[in-house]
Symmetry: C2
Subunit: 334 residues, 2 copies
């Protein structure tokens, strides 16, 4: 069982998940990519926990082949949906039991592929799986936030090469989301406008950090990018909730397509880089619909963070965002 | 020349340092450890920028052999002391010219050693160099914060194996320092006490996260450690400023000794792990002497951060801090 602990100074929560621990150094091994056996391949469905959701051919049984997207509970979960949600003190410290959800979205039966090589249509199916699970997990009123994310490559923390995403639902609003929400709220108080909408406005006006703009989305390098080739994708029309796109299959397909384009451009420019992708959406708090603006952040993991970054939270980015955008724009996509 | 840019949402500053950039992928190469030639070895003093400070044998000339600690400007600085400090807007965004200091402390002429293998006395000399440079740079009133840090091992972002530390002085107070300061300030308003002093109190009372306590310092695993074996060292007596220890050579030696002990224990338990070490001290703001408490944070870099951590700021730590402390306490140091 895991436990949430809060740093009393920064008020940042940490998940202590000792299931993966043991002798010192053991957890290093668990980070290594296992190439020999893949629990996400066709025929190995019985080696994962039972599936929660799958998109599969008619007349195929759950937990057998025939699926094209499959969602299963994480075998080594950081949080547990059956855990009682209990908050308590420990002297001056705070803790919460390890309640939450931790699921894996197996994006395709194909072992050796990636978002850049999949079709728009397959990515579209993956996004549908994100949405279905998001909407379902959100019904649990103990959940305060749902994080959809993807690790690609060992340097990005992926422990399996088979393309997959993850969902972790937490009983508190995570630090970075609160940080964005607070920033957006202060701006809203000052300007009576969404800060993300204003950013989009300036990016469209300036052009030089934009990678692609479609009818409903924009992909660009943020002005103060922390990492070389860090890329954000935002819906052009103000919307706080990622899951609201479920209403419109065309919008979902358009999102799949712009995502696909960005990853193809990454491959061309950076050569299949390791990356993390995260969806930032409004936490489950009343009255923030006008303030927050859902978006996707993609971070190629090209450099190791060092002591200065850890010490100060000050990132050193060696590539000008305008230069990164130019590199990515230039790449022709077949 | 570099540039500071501010994320308008989170108000986090980033240093855009394009000196190291060029063609895509070039910056990856620069992260690779260069083993063949070492600019920090005896005899290669002329391959670094001219030394700012050195502790050396009498009758030896600057920028020749004979030193035991040597401080030089970073050859690829992130910030420049000769840059004009100029703040400006860029539409809704903020930027500052790349003013600051970036220096390298070469800790020893010995190429293949580390804090764990050096003597207390040599570490003591390194800390003296930190202090001398800190006090000197602080005289520049344009500097708002001085970050002393050390990267050990490629995974921790070290580009050279020869033992060295770095100092970066910034024209604004970095994000993480503001975050700690704000947390400490809120606590002070509420309790009329320093939060770090209260943490020390509880750690001494509970004992199970403590690694070592000496007359003036305590080394322990923080309650909400973000990383396995994350270790903090704090002075027991309240003090906001790292540089204040300059008054008392015995305290400096005691700090050198507890640092040495912690690194020897790391080596025994984790086998010469890559790590980052950062000194957190009060930024140059009036009236925070009672609120802030200087300390050292040491982070072994054993795991790769993944999308969940990037997305949420929520760290998953697989080793219970009490277990990590027990492992480290158990190691006999010869």
């Amino acid at each position: 069982m895991s436990e949430l602990r809060k740093d009393p100074i920064t008020r940042r929560w940490v998940i202590i998940s000792t299931e993966r621990a043991g002798r010192p150094n053991n957890y290093i091994k668990s980070e290594e990519v296992i190439e020999n056996f893949c629990p996400f391949d066709y025929g190995n469905e019985n080696t994962t926990p039972s599936e929660i959701l799958s998109f599969r051919r008619p007349n195929t049984r759950p937990n057998t082949s025939g699926w094209w997207v499959r969602v299963v509970p994480n075998k080594f979960p950081a949080l547990y949906k059956d855990a009682e949600l209990k908050k308590s003190g420990h002297g001056m410290y705070d803790k919460i039991t390890g309640f939450g959800y931790h699921e894996v979205i197996i994006e395709t039966p194909e072992h050796n592929t990636s978002f850049s090589k999949m079709s728009d249509k397959q990515i579209n199916e993956v996004i549908w799986a994100y949405l279905k699970r998001f909407v379902e997990i959100k019904k649990d009123k103990k959940v305060k936030y749902i994080q959809i994310f993807k690790n690609h490559g060992k340097e990005a923390g992926a422990s399996l090469v088979h393309p997959h995403s993850q969902i972790i639902a937490t009983p508190i609003v995570p630090y970075n989301i609160l940080e964005e929400l607070n920033g957006a709220e202060n701006y809203y108080k000052f300007k009576d406008r969404c800060i993300y909408c204003d950013i989009i406005e300036q990016e469209i006006m300036e052009k030089d950090r934009v990678i692609q703009k479609t009818e409903n989305f924009i992909a660009f390098e943020p002005y103060a990018a922390r990492f070389p080739y860090e890329t954000w994708i935002l819906p052009l029309k103000h919307d706080s909730n990622f899951e609201s796109i479920e209403r419109d299959p065309n919008i979902i397909f358009e999102l799949s397509s712009i995502l696909h384009t960005v990853f193809k451009k990454f491959d061309k420019t950076l050569g299949n880089p390791p990356f993390n992708m995260v969806v930032h959406t409004a936490p489950f708090i009343e009255g923030i619909e006008k303030i927050f603006h859902w978006h996707i952040e993609i971070i190629p993991r090209l450099t190791n963070l060092a002591g200065f970054e850890w010490g100060t939270g000050f990132y050193i980015n060696s590539v000008l965002p305008e230069k990164a955008a130019e590199d990515l724009r230039r790449e022709e996509i077949l």
